[in-house]
């Protein structure tokens, strides 16, 4: 962490890019609006750095627990009918989805 972080500005182009990644359609007005809001959110979060000294460990979770584990013992599964019960379309025991452009990640 630097002592004087550069202020971050979220541009309309950033919002458009993120909206694309999140598959959300936004109007130009919404994009401008969100760019302003996200900039101020990022700015607020950045203030944490002013109080966080190097001896404060980074946290990703408010719960002070680690190693919450489960024994390797099989439990209940859904039936194939249950699995597919919410599927708009199914075939041969599997979900049928439109042909996917692109590929596995």
């Amino acid at each position: 962490m630097t002592d004087a972080p550069e202020p971050v500005v979220i541009t309309a182009a950033d919002v458009q890019h993120l909206a694309g990644l999140a598959r959300i359609a936004l109007s130009p007005e919404e994009i401008d609006h969100l760019a302003g809001e996200l900039t101020s959110i990022v700015d607020s979060v950045a203030r944490v750095r002013e109080v966080a000294t190097p001896d404060v460990p980074a946290t990703s979770h408010p719960v002070a627990l680690v190693n919450v584990l489960r024994p390797d013992v099989p439990g209940a599964v859904l039936t194939q009918e249950q699995v597919l019960s919410g599927a708009p379309d199914a075939s041969e025991g599997r979900f049928r989805v439109p042909a996917i452009l692109g590929e596995e990640q």
Binding site: H61, N67, G102
Partner: protein, 510 residues
Amino acid sequence: MADGTALSSDALLDYDEALAKYEPVLGFEVHVELSTRTKMFSAAPNPAAADSGTVEPNTMVAPVDMGLPGSLPVVNAQAVRYSISLGLALGCSIAETCRFARKNYFYPDLGKNYQISQYDEPIAFDGSVEVELEDGTTWTVPIERAHMEEDAGKLTHVGGTTGRIQGADSSLVDYNRAGVPLVEIVTKPIVGAGAAAPQLAKAYVATIRDIVRSLGISEARMERGNLRCDANVSLRPRGQERFGTRTETKNVNSLRSVERAVRYEIQRQAAILDAGGTIIQETRHWHEDTGTTSAGRPKSDADDYRYFPEPDLLPIQPSAELIAELRAALPETPTQFRRRLQADYGFSESEFRDIINANVLVELEETVAAGAAPAQARKWWLGEILRIANARGVEAGTLVSPLHVSELIALVENGDLTDRLARQVLEGVIAGEGSPEDVVRARGLAVVSDDTALTAAIDEALAAQPDVLQRIRDGKVQAAGAVIGAVMKAMRGQADAARVRELVLERAAR
């Protein structure tokens, strides 16, 4: 989708010429499916576990595996232990604390629209693996990291032949594999292998396979997708420091293919560079049938997956005691394993080298462990089984189980089968007709050891060659051969030649 038309159009530079001008730099991402009983984050049974046969689609699925609202993941303790063991076997440091992260992308192979993986805090990092090439030289492959994640579901693409809407191809999704525990092993760039690069690639993946098998943490069957390899290849002009642009050939799923794919990419990229072109950073698909790669999607170093810490899971902090316990339980390394077996079995250097190069050492060891003599095990794996494997272009280990080979050898040793019959039985086992005993029974292939039947056949043969007994009595024992041959023919090979010989000599001595 990749289509066949573009495949053969790649220009390839002669391999030796490519190596004279360019230096290949390799990198691998190997995914290992762990054979825990349950999945990474749910208690659904794991289809990659040891005893899983074929299962119906979407029958090994818990709500977590589909990302149903309200379901929450809980980490499988055994998967963490397996991952630490693997990290230690790769010579890695184990993180004092590590976290899971969400890798966000839209693709129906996962129902959540993200994969739970690890990002900047992998469980294991900075290791190295010793790899032995075919000529016996060893290479040290540097390991960047090994991290835990979940496997994705399986998509089957079906063509637009239903006639509904033109081009209305669709994909069928089975989530049984979603959530299977995976460890992804990432190497650092591997420099300096030169012309041996394709061989090193194969040897590296074989070594990873041997390691996870000896740890007993994965079934490690490449043909079943338990072990999957993405191979990164780039070239740089000889003398240049900076790495060239790399391609990532995805899902190369046999050892032989790893070697071929790396070789192909070296020749393909060299031809482009040689013609003054530039390499596009992209994924490439490997085509087993044509032995070629084709362009996939463009790839950047920072694919925008918007990783962030997984809020549904807490950090993992392996204790020093756990790490010490798992370290103490590590099996010997593949190199140590080889040295020990070579000494135990008493094979010569070249006999042993043949076994390594045919990739049947583990199979051979398991065959011996199941009761066969090492020399017999070697004879079958390097003989008939390897011959069939080569003819079919598959790994010998995929054809038949070590247990069945040891049973087959026992049948020969007991005199129930001749070598010739045993080869027919092997054929049956490979064809899926069951165990050697099953095949013997179903095909009626047992050696005729019933002396009455043999005696009848011998009588018949002697009637046709009445002077044989006298010639034997005169000291010409080899005359028995003609009778033995006739009897074997009459019994269609299903007789024990040694027993026939005994009976003929007994008759002559009377």
